[in-house]
Amino acid sequence: MNPAPAVAETEITVSEAVTFPDGIPGFETCRSWVVMAAESATPLRRLHAMDGADASFLAIDPRAVLDNYRCELSASDLRRLGAGDNDSLLWLAIVMMEPGGALTVNLRAPIVINPKTMTGQQVLPHNCLYPLRHVLVDAE
């Protein structure tokens, strides 16, 4: 695992509900989510659906996984988030427990939240060629 940087100056905390106007793929009816610190594991966040379905995810800032992680948001992604070019956005990559026991992280389609508008979406950037399952911790 790459050393997770002690959370940098870009640290953004979201404690109220974030609106995802389209839900996220597979959870299209979940429009309201909260982001919480996942107990004891600081770089980890927990995304919990407040409506639509009982769903919780673990997620991590993709830049804590890959230092040079960079995805460009399209103009329409920014518009949906109500974000300007210089707004600080919260990026979260969803963590998955693989059947073999490995932990992987979805760097391909990150969740992006604009704390100013409390709006979020899972983006599928066309120019982002990071893996859907980047290994975070190998199988035991």
């Binding site: 996220i24 996942a38 769903a55 919780s56 998955m96 932990l103 899972q122």
Partner: protein
């Protein structure tokens, strides 16, 4: 399902704002151009399906939450 025959450079309109135009027809594929308003998200179906499947397999129970947290802490 609605089915249309379209030739190169011909298009169909979906609602008022979405246009799908045939740009090129090859032996193995058709190249399409899509014009849609910014609020309409356009994705290759298989990419969307992959992300949906990954999301569905990523849901964690409270037990797993503690387990994952522990493994990540250990791995550091």
């Amino acid at each position: 399902m609605l089915v249309f025959t379209r030739r190169r450079h011909e298009a169909i309109m979906i609602g008022d704002g979405v246009e799908v135009r045939v740009l090129r027809v090859g032996k193995d594929g058709v190249r399409l151009g899509i014009v849609a308003p910014p609020e309409v998200r356009v994705h290759r179906r298989e990419v969307y399906d992959q992300i949906r499947d990954a999301n569905q397999s990523a849901v964690v129970s409270p037990d797993q939450l503690a387990q994952v947290a522990e493994r990540l802490t250990k791995a550091k």
